[in-house]
Structures are given as structure tokens and as C-alpha cells.
Symmetry: C2
Subunit: 337 residues, 2 copies
């Protein structure tokens, strides 16, 4: 193998054919004759030729990569979705460019920037707080949302958020709880709204009261879970169980109340959402709603590749099933409640 890697010209020379034939052998082998095909493949092997992706992309007017826009890379949740995305994109020959929407000043502007920059053949948006308005640009590359979503303009892959919330509340009710609180995600987030709605609807169906002061505002982070715990601790009339809109918040909540001497689930029951890896390693194990994050990523990638190949700009969204995971953080309410 040479210092400089072989080009298609080298292969053509060695095989005694034109570069066109080499290119065709590699991209659509069916159109080239058996014997020449073999000769070319041998020459490819001999020279150690690898197609230069940059040149190929330039000629084919594509970039060979997709951009993933996410709010925060340093978050388990997104990392696993990334893994799912990568599992599809890499084999398909697409690179995955990561962009953190939080690091810059104006997230919306960054979205517009990436759409216009022509740096990518498609975008995956994991940050539902971005404004759909930015997407009105003509001739923009296809976009897919994963987990969160932005109206109906953009195809998305999401889970059954309402049903997840209903499962959580139903489990608590079945254990005997009649005072069930909720800790939400950040305001304005679709997940926040949908899960809150699921919680509300489930209480309604079960004939249980929903008290406004039992709905605490969080933002999906552990810190906000801990903050909610402090609010809960200070309450006069505490709910005996809480459904938290994310496992991270549940972790923060449990840690904080436990450090205050409260026992879970004897004194308070907790149900989370996500089933992050740590959930089963806590003490007690965290009862939660599983979202298959790797699958979500993989499906989103497939959806996007479909859009890219067909040139279509819209596609049906997908909803993936959630699963109730029973562990030990939720139990019967304390006596007398």
C-alpha cells in the first residue's frame, strides 16, 4: 500500500478499464460484465483502494452526514438515543454530527443555521423546545424529531406518553393511594404537557382528586427532583405517592427525602419515567415506565433515511410502546391515609 492512498484512476489503470467502469462496478455491479467486474474487484483489492467519500459526495451533491441536535450531550438519556441512531446511520454510510443546542446563544437560530448550511443531508431533532417556525424554509433537508415533537409539520418517533402516565397512576391507585402528586418536566415541553395530561386523565377516570398544589414543576433534571422533594417535605398535607415525569427527577427526589429520614416506599411511593440504567440499582429499586431509547433512535434514523432517499418531506409519525416496570419504590400508602 502506498503512502498516498490509491484513487479510482489507479484501479482503472491496473484493471485496464476506464474509471467509469470501476465506479459502476462498485455502485451498481449488475450493469458490468462478469469478467470485467472480477478484474476490477481484483484491482481494487490489490491497490487497497477505498472510495474517497468527499469526492463522491461532492459529485453526488450530498454530504453523507446527518446532524443531531440535542439540548444536552451530558445526559444519559440522549446518549442512548444516540447509540440507536448510530446503529442505523453508520452502517448506511452516514456520519453523525452532534450539535449541542444549549451551548450557543439562540437555539432556534442554530437550527436555522444548520438547515441552511447544507452541512447535512438530514437533521434529527431531540430538542422539542425548538420552534417549528424555523422549519418553514423552502428546500430544507428533511427533519425528524425523536422523543419530543413539533406539531404535525415534522415526522417524529415518540412513545406512548399518556399511556405511560396512566400506567404509573393506575399502579399507585391499585396499591391504595388516593393522594397522588406529580412532578412535571420543564414548561412548554410537549412531553411535560402530554404526561401531565395523562396523569390528569388517569386520576379523572379513577375518580381521584387532583390538587393543583400537588403538581410540582420540574425540568427533568436530578436537581429539580431534589428541589421538588424539598417542596414536598415542607407541605402540610402531602400526597402519599408521586409520579415524576422522568427517572432523573425521581432519583433526585428519592435521594433528598431519604437524606431527610423519609423511607421509600413506606412513607412515600415514587414512580418515574424512562427506566434509565440506574433505576434498578437504587435502593429501593425505582418503579418506572420503560421507553426503549435505543429503538427510538434506530427508528428515527430509519425514518430519516427514508425521507432522504425518497426526497419526500413528510412521513407518518411513529409511536412506540412503553412498558410498566415494577420495582420497590412504590408500595401501599401509610396507615390512615
Amino acid at each position: 500500500m502506498d503512502r498516498k492512498s490509491a484513487t479510482i484512476q489507479d484501479v482503472a489503470r491496473v484493471a485496464g478499464v476506464s474509471t467509469a467502469t470501476v465506479s459502476r462496478t462498485l455502485s451498481k455491479p449488475s450493469v458490468v460484465a462478469r469478467t470485467t467486474r472480477d478484474a476490477v474487484l481484483k484491482a481494487v483489492a490489490d491497490t487497497g483502494y477505498r472510495v474517497n467519500a468527499t469526492a463522491s459526495n461532492l459529485r453526488r451533491q450530498r454530504t453523507g452526514s446527518v446532524i443531531v441536535l440535542l439540548p444536552n450531550l451530558a445526559n444519559t438519556f440522549f446518549a442512548q438515543i444516540l447509540a440507536g441512531l448510530a446503529s442505523v446511520l453508520t452502517p448506511a454510510g452516514y456520519g453523525m454530527l452532534i450539535a449541542d443546542t444549549q451551548s450557543g446563544p439562540d437555539p432556534d437560530e442554530r437550527l436555522t443555521h444548520y438547515l441552511a448550511s447544507g452541512q447535512a443531508d438530514g437533521l434529527v431533532v431531540l430538542d422539542g423546545t425548538l420552534s417549528p417556525a424555523a422549519l418553514s424554509m423552502p428546500g430544507r433537508p428533511p427533519v425528524v424529531c425523536a422523543c419530543e415533537w413539533m406539531g404535525d409539520a415534522v415526522p417524529s418517533v415518540r412513545v406512548e406518553n399518556e399511556r405511560g402516565a396512566a400506567l404509573a397512576v393506575g399502579h399507585l391507585a391499585r396499591l391504595g393511594h388516593r393522594h397522588i402528586g406529580h412532578v412535571t418536566g420543564p414548561g412548554g415541553n410537549v412531553l411535560t404537557r402530554t404526561r401531565l395530561e395523562g396523569y390528569r386523565a388517569a386520576l379523572d377516570r379513577l375518580g381521584l382528586p387532583m390538587r393543583a398544589d400537588w403538581v410540582l414543576e420540574g425540568d427533568f433534571t436530578m436537581d429539580s427532583g431534589a428541589a421538588a422533594a424539598r417542596v414536598w417535605l415542607a407541605m402540610e398535607d402531602r400526597p402519599t405517592a408521586l409520579f415524576l415525569s422522568s427517572d432523573e427527577m425521581a432519583v433526585g427526589f428519592m435521594g433528598e427525602v431519604q437524606r431527610a429520614g423519609i423511607r421509600v416506599p413506606e412513607d412515600v411511593s415514587v414512580v418515574g419515567f424512562d427506566n434509565i440504567e440506574i433505576a434498578r440499582h437504587l435502593s429501593p429499586g425505582l418503579t418506572t415506565i420503560r421507553q426503549p431509547r435505543t429503538d427510538i433512535g434506530a427508528r428515527a434514523a430509519e425514518l430519516l433515511l427514508g425521507l432522504i432517499e425518497t426526497g419526500a418531506s413528510s412521513a407518518p409519525s411513529e409511536v412506540i410502546e412503553v412498558e410498566f416496570i415494577r420495582r420497590s419504590s412504590a408500595g401501599p400508602p401509610p396507615k390512615g391515609r
Copy 2:
């Protein structure tokens, strides 16, 4: 703005200059006259021109991206390093391609593949189990290791692992522990070796016994921490304190012993390594050694960019400070020990 984005030709025409001048205005403005420069910049603004990275890369014989090889994307630890890498690479105009070494069959082969593929201007390796032999290829792009390292052939960014271990053991000893165990990382890993060595040396300096059966084998995961806990629970003569080579293992360990009714730190003291986000949210808060992961990523990226720009193939490695974080998972040993 047109449907098809403007090319350098369009800008040249609008500004009434040649494409060469446009290119120069954008890359080294100093060589073009003030007045023409302004005209070009105005034309750029008017046409909404953005340079086509693919064409630019082809001409400049580079790819504009670096590949990050990591063992497991779905891991908090790496995600945060990625964030650090991205914070430097993105502003510098480099894309970041993620490759999971575990997903394929032979990790070493994948390293070789990426080195030879010419898909990237440089590589960041986060998986120290790869073999340095793969790097002997001539004319390969520069490589930098982060966290882990591979002999002296490859420049790396790492933390003071031995000192970290010594801090952990020192703290436990100061609390009065004389029976200090250790849970290691996976065999063959440099971090495993170095931290084990730090643990051993610290015990030695303190005149404390080191018993082979108190050194348990783990692999940095929560599961392996839980497994170590089961081994510890079954011991006749248990150490009163453990230093675990990663926080994830400490989480797994604490959860498992707590579920068995053991209290931390009253019955057993625990110190981890990494200071992952959850450490302060556990109950009790996890005492640990902080590694600044975002910094590690950022430094590694800078090191790599340096190598790429200068064309050098080696550079001095960097060692970043660790910090002892005292929380509540380590306390005095039980009476009588």
C-alpha cells in the same frame, strides 16, 4: 435566497471579481484590498452564500471531521467527554463522527479500518483496550487518547489516577479504617492497573494490610458493582471500607448492600471514582474523586487539532488534576474493627 444555494461563482459575478478573490476574501482577508473586500462581503451577504464544505475539503485534501472511537455510547461518562470534545471541535469547524467499538466484531480491526479509510483528519480514542500495534501504519492520521492511553506511542490526556486512588485510601484510613478493600475495573485496562497500583502503594505507605481476597474484580459497570457487593456480603472477614474504581460500580455496590439491609456508611464505607452527576443525589451522597470530564475532552480536542494543523505525529501527553469530593458514604468504621 434561491432554492439552490449560491456558489462562489454567483458571489464573484455579483461582486464583479473572480472566484479566486472571493475565496481569498473569505480565507485570508489580509491579502485583498480594502475596497474589493467590502464589495465581496456585501455580495456574500446579498446572495446568502455559504461555502460548500465538501468541495472545500476535497480541494484541500482533508475531511473536516474527526472520528471518536468509544466502547459504549450509552454511558454517562463518555457522553460528558464527548461534550468537551464537541465544545472545541465544533467551533474549529470540525465535525465529530462517533464510532462505537463494541458494536462491531473486532474492535482492533475497526481502528485499523478508520485509520486507513481516510474518513477523518484525526482520531480520538476513548477505548484503551485497543492494541497499539494497529497504529504502526505509515501515513496514518494523528491519534489522541483520552482518559485511557496506549503506551507512549500515542499522546494522551488523562488524570492523576494513582493520586486519586491514594486520596481515596488516605481518606478512609484517616477515618480509622484498617481493612480497606478495592473493586477494580476490567482486566487489562490501564486505568484498572493504575488505580490498583495507587491503592496498593497507599496501603503500603500507611502500613495497612492488603489482602488479595479484598480486591474484587469489576468492569466499571453498575452491574459489576452489585456483583462485588454480593461477594462482599458473603465474606467471612469483610473489609470495613471499599474504594471502587468507578462511581458506577459504587452505585451498584451501595444499592445492593442497602437492599440487603446494610447501612452506608455505618456498616461499610464506600468511596468511588469519577464524580458522576448522580453521586451527590444518592443517599448517602457518594464520596468520590472528581475527574473533570468536560475538560479532558476539551484538552484532547485541542491536542488533536494541534497535531492536525502542524502535521506532527507526536506531542507531550497531559495529566489533569483530580479533586477529592467528601460526601457521606464514608464514615468511621463500626465499633470493634
